[in-house]
Symmetry: C2
Subunit: 253 residues, 2 copies
């Protein structure tokens, strides 16, 4: 029996939409959730506009077990995520007392001023729980099933590690990826036949062009049962060879 | 006077959600649209499930001037984007006659069979116009304000170049990015003051950690008027220096 636990990611980031910053959080979170049996089923990237954040978070939190947001929790005027999450939940926000205490001590210990801007980093909706940040102290937080993380990848990862023990784990989806230089159009029929014989698995076909391994296709088999994945992979090996090709790479995880 | 032209991107891709594949299309499209005065305002990444694609495309095409989809237009069983776009528009799909002719000639010229799987690559909703692909022949298509592109970055880029002349252009948003080693909490007050004096510009603050330029913050000024951007940048230079810092990098585009 498989237990599905689902998640969505909401990236709050003008800098991702404008193309200035290359996203590095989606693949990390997709992999990180996979490892603990949670499936990332949707990502939305929205601008730093309160109503956009509210609408996206409310749509996603109603639909998935968990929502992770990244971005917009710093000290500057464009960091509006905490207030927006409070608005999404229809609650007030405050300077979270424990966060405020930690941050005040941190700046005090460095002889730096705990400015009004820095106090903004302690804002959470009333009722939120903190999520620790071992990189740069200012915490993220959790409100119900919504986790609010920083956008900077190193900090996001630290917050994800801190949040992990509190996440409900589902059935881990394993995968095996077989690459070949054959064309997708040549492989399609055989692949479709394997998919029909293994309806509980998810077979995907991903062409690659002029990469370090040349041009070809990665055939990816995903599912909960490693035995079934290996059985499907064996059939793929067979039909690739029957087509006169070979499997040039075979990765499992 | 500025002319806003808006766009959204819908990525159809289990392989992006699972973390197997690092996205390389968002930043490319964000930049490419920016250059012709179109603002990318939303991205959604959905799995290869028909109803998910239909819902996302219908939500986005009602809201933005253009929608671009990537992924799911190949020959294999998991390539369901063209049929899903037809369903989103409530129209039938067919083997597009011109696409069919091109593809048949392509395989004929190579002495390869134009298999049933390969014929799938000519599927479009009835009424769609083709978008050329100079990399691997199989075309993308346009249906009303929705452009359907491949997910492989090289092919997506070829299709975007082909589609570009048909896109309505808006006011180009320029930007200037000033980096400093000062902390965001130190910069926030001055940055907020500049934002208030330049309400028509969009000022963003993006921390970076342990990168090739060290740790610090990129202050990004965006707007339609280069003169105003430069005036705001001059104020940023001044307050960064007043705070005892320096601008270590200054990029305009």
């Amino acid at each position: 029996m498989t237990l599905n636990v689902t998640a969505a990611l909401c990236i709050i980031g003008n800098e991702i939409l404008s193309g200035r910053t290359q996203d590095r959080n989606i693949a990390f979170l997709g992999n990180g959730l996979n490892e603990i049996g949670i499936q990332l089923l949707e990502v939305r990237i929205v601008p730093d506009i309160r109503d956009e954040i509210v609408d996206a978070v409310n749509a996603l939190r109603a639909r998935y077990d968990y929502v992770f947001t990244t971005g917009g929790i710093g000290p500057t005027h464009d960091d509006i995520t905490p207030e927006s999450i409070a608005a999404a939940f229809g609650t007030e926000w405050h300077y979270h007392p424990e966060s405020f205490r930690r941050m005040a001590a941190w700046y005090d210990g460095r002889g730096q001023e705990f400015t009004e801007a820095r106090k903004r980093m302690t804002i959470t909706p009333v009722g939120a729980e903190l999520v620790d940040n071992t990189v740069s102290i200012a915490p993220g937080f959790r409100m119900d099933n919504v986790f609010v993380f920083a956008g900077v990848p190193q900090i996001m990862r630290s917050m994800f590690e801190a949040a992990k023990p509190s996440l409900r784990r589902g059935t881990v989806i394993h995968s095996r990826s077989l690459s070949t230089h054959l064309a997708e159009g040549v492989l399609a029929e055989g692949l479709g036949a394997v998919q029909q014989r293994f309806p509980e698995l998810d077979l995907g076909s991903y062409p690659f062009y002029n990469t370090e391994k040349g041009t070809g296709v990665a055939l990816v088999v995903r599912g909960a049962d490693r035995g079934r994945i290996d059985a499907a992979a064996a059939e793929i090996f067979t039909f690739v060879e029957e087509l006169g090709g070979e499997v040039i790479e075979d990765n499992a995880n």
